[in-house]
């Protein structure tokens, strides 16, 4: 059995390396994007083999799905911009002498090789131990949930997750600061198939997202995974638009985006005021606090990812 799994792992490694190499060296951008989607799926399988189904869920949802759709629409906008103002620059023709490039490549390969060897040596020199699992298992009864991953993410190391949510909001602010949303009309798809499949997929995606949120308390799942799947549902709605985007009302949108971070911060300060310290939960309420934070975080992540997919700031003067 372990021999078969070893063969599986080796093939997976070769596949990941090969696909990543082709993705990075592809001159055709669309091919690179499709290879990136395939890479996301392969990486998700690697997480499955590393016995981390939570991360496998997140990688499949965010890495393969949301980022794949995002890259495709970016490619379209690049072509749109090029069509408006062609730069005349041939992307295949790089500047610099070939000897200079060969030297640079050699240096980079040598550095990467040295880093790789150092990492392997560090890995082999680790003392054999069970890691943090015994510590976490010993404290799980105080965390309020059954899934150790959720317990670590949202209780023992809640501060890190709080900062991750803040980073997502900051990323959206960065994207919004670059400009207003400019709608590029979608390719019209005649026939009933596209609306039909969207009518089928969107509710399934929403229900799956809510299910993953609920399942996160006692199994693989959680706020990030649920938020990513709900973002996929939102992307389906955005892709199905007949002429232009439905404008989201401004205030509820902004409230929804910061709800995760705000609630998390509120709970953290509440802990500071009422006993366990910053980001500590009063113990009998731990489960409900975690659930509330996860719901708010899911909403924020989903809204932020869809807003990143749409791109620019929403138009305010078009109301």
């Amino acid at each position: 059995m372990s021999a078969v799994l070893f063969v599986f792992d080796v093939m997976l490694l070769v596949g990941i390396g090969g696909v990543a190499w082709h993705c990075l060296t592809s001159t055709d951008l669309f091919r690179a994007v499709v290879l990136f989607i395939a890479l996301g799926l392969l990486l998700s399988m690697a997480w499955v083999r590393l016995e981390a189904p939570d991360i496998a869920l997140a990688e499949a949802a965010i890495g393969a799905g949301v980022t794949g759709a995002l890259l495709l629409i970016t490619l379209e906008r690049l072509k749109h911009l090029e069509a408006l103002s062609p730069t005349g620059r041939d992307p295949e023709h790089s500047t610099g002498s070939s000897a200079g490039r060969a030297l640079l490549s050699g240096v980079v390969i040598a550095l990467v090789g040295a880093l790789g060897l150092l990492l392997i040596r560090a890995l082999l020199a680790q003392p054999g131990q069970a890691g943090l699992q015994p510590l976490v298992d010993a404290q799980m009864h105080r965390s309020g949930v059954d899934n150790p991953v959720t317990g670590v993410l949202l209780n023992f190391r809640a501060y890190d997750t709080f900062l991750e949510l803040a980073v997502i909001v900051l990323a959206l602010l960065g994207a919004w600061s670059l400009g207003r949303h400019e709608s590029v009309p979608a390719r019209p798809v005649p026939g009933p198939m596209l609306p039909g499949i969207l009518r089928f997929l969107t509710p399934v995606a929403i229900v799956t997202g809510v299910y993953l949120l609920w399942a996160g308390t006692h199994g693989p799942g959680g706020a990030f995974q649920a938020g990513a799947v709900l973002a996929a549902a939102g992307i389906l709605i955005v892709l199905g638009r007949p002429r232009r985007l439905p404008i989201a009302p401004d205030q509820p949108l902004r409230l929804g985006l910061v709800a995760g971070v705000a609630l998390f911060l509120g709970v953290g300060v509440h802990g500071l005021l009422f006993g366990p310290g910053f980001m500590g939960y009063v113990e009998p309420w731990a489960y409900w606090l975690i659930l509330a934070i996860e719901v708010a975080a899911t909403l924020s992540i989903a809204l932020a990812l869809v807003a990143l997919f749409i791109g620019g700031r929403p138009h305010e003067e078009d109301r």
Partner: protein, 111 residues
């Protein structure tokens, strides 16, 4: 015992369809024929594999989960194949470079 035997038979049949579908995707000359091969792998390959795994599932939640995945892939796979074919068709009757370009549809405009 019978369940294990059924699983083995069904999963092997599913793998055969996946292999046939992959060979088709690699060897057929045209987008449309490759889509044809793809949908065989999608529907029959995955369908037989899931049918085999149904005998290994424990409890109603496992069975329902597998059936839900099957229904989702069936529905989305077939529609996606249609949409890809339609896009290739209306994009300009692009044909694969492996054979002669077919005559263009007159109502698709010049160029």
């Amino acid at each position: 015992m019978i369940a294990d035997l059924l699983t083995v038979v069904l999963v092997v049949a599913g793998l055969a369809f996946f292999a046939a579908g992959t060979v088709g995707v690699l060897r057929f000359p045209d987008v449309y024929t490759r889509l044809h091969a793809l949908t065989k792998a999608d529907n029959l390959g995955l369908g037989l594999v899931i049918a085999g795994l149904l005998f290994q599932a424990d409890g109603a939640t496992g069975v329902l989960g597998l059936l839900l995945v099957w229904a989702l892939v069936l529905a989305s796979g077939t529609v996606v194949a249609h949409l890809i074919a339609q896009r290739t068709r209306t994009h300009g009757a692009f044909e694969s470079a492996d054979r002669e370009p077919a005559t263009r549809d007159p109502e698709e405009g010049g160029g």
